[in-house]
């Protein structure tokens, strides 16, 4: 019996495709963001508000993943920007190959911001690099303050946490500070924005972050996880 050291990533095929995507995004100066949350935390609604904030002709595009239905793509297509649904047919996350296929006939030179809405799931999407510049995690205030401790991986890997549905706080026994502290225990430097797509709390702050991130991206590259 002989033990042979290997030292390679299990998902190295996904990592290879993701690296190719990242290189293509860099070549075309595309900022790609990967939005991840549980089902029902408000990814699609935040994207609706985000798309509505852009002037016509903004070079933004959206890929939206779900196990079934084209519902999200229909909701997001109303804003007039390119949107494509990826239906995984059962798979609980998007992987780099799905992104590569979805982009196959898009003209990347016409895109500056690519927003990817992952399948609703707080666990599995965190393992799959899609070539994004940053992951964004959403957590709604109905989900429990300890979610960052229970599902640390995604809170560790995300650059920004959007706490969503804060308009519900008066009706809940929810300690939003505890949720924020828990997220910072997992990653001390995570940026946190409190948002409500109904009251519009925090939306300007989110748009501002997005704008600054885009400008930073077209400047020299920033090291991100």
């Amino acid at each position: 019996m002989e033990r042979v050291p290997v030292e390679r990533k299990v998902l190295n095929e996904n990592e290879r495709v993701a690296a190719t995507l990242r290189a293509r995004f860099a070549e075309h100066n595309i900022l790609c963001l990967n939005l991840i949350s549980s089902p029902g935390s408000g990814k699609t609604t935040l994207l609706e508000r985000t798309l509505a904030s852009f002037p016509p002709g903004e070079r933004v595009a959206v890929l939206t993943g779900d196990i079934q239905t084209e519902n999200d793509a229909r909701r997001l297509a109303r804003f007039g920007f390119p949107v494509r649904q990826i239906t995984t047919g059962g798979t609980c996350h998007l992987d780099a190959r799905m992104i590569e296929r979805a982009l196959a006939d898009w003209r990347l030179e016409e895109i500056e911001l690519l927003l990817i809405e992952n399948v609703g799931n707080l666990v599995c999407p965190s393992s799959y690099d899609l070539g994004e510049a940053a992951k964004i995690v959403l957590l709604s205030v109905t989900e429990g303050e300890d979610k960052p401790l229970k599902y640390p991986s995604i809170f560790f890997k995300s650059e920004l946490l959007a706490l969503t549905k804060t308009d519900l706080l008066p009706h809940l026994r929810y300690d939003i500070r505890a949720a924020e502290e828990n997220a910072r225990k997992i990653q001390s430097g995570i940026r946190i924005v409190r948002t409500s797509c109904l009251s519009r709390e925090g939306l300007q702050e989110w748009f501002g972050w997005l704008d600054a991130r885009r400008r930073a991206f077209s400047a020299p590259p920033v090291a991100v996880f």
Binding site: E2, P5, V10, N12, N14, S153, K185
Partner: protein, 121 residues
């Protein structure tokens, strides 16, 4: 539940590597799975059993080394297991320790049995 896909990736790697060991075969695969990898080791073992039993890979075994989240103290350099309650150094008490591991999802090693020794056992 994406462990099935991850185990499939491991088995793809075993299949791809099999040709490197003429006359022998890979009998065990060692994985390193970090606390922050977003993967449940028990679910991986379950999927592994389900996929290997009755397949070309049998009797392949799986060994998982679970790697807790680690921090390194910025002040004294000590490496320590980080808890969810904070990242203070247990030695010098300094805060601001840096992440130093715990997101692994790696194949660490194969164990290869050569044809001759397989025949003897």
């Amino acid at each position: 539940m994406h462990e099935m896909g991850i185990v499939n990736s491991v088995l793809d790697a075993v299949r791809a590597e099999a040709g490197r060991f003429p006359g022998g075969h890979i009998c065990k695969v060692g994985l390193r799975v970090g606390e922050l990898a977003g993967v449940a080791p028990e679910a991986m073992s379950f999927c592994f059993e389900a996929l290997v039993r009755g397949s070309e890979f049998e009797p392949l075994e799986l060994e998982i080394e679970y790697c807790p989240r680690r921090h390194r103290c910025a002040a004294c350099g000590k490496l320590f297991g980080a808890t969810a309650d904070g990242a203070e150094c247990p030695d010098c008490g300094a805060g601001g320790a840096r992440f130093a591991g715990g997101d692994e999802l790696e194949i660490a090693y194969w164990e290869v049995e050569d044809g001759a020794s397989a025949g003897r056992t």
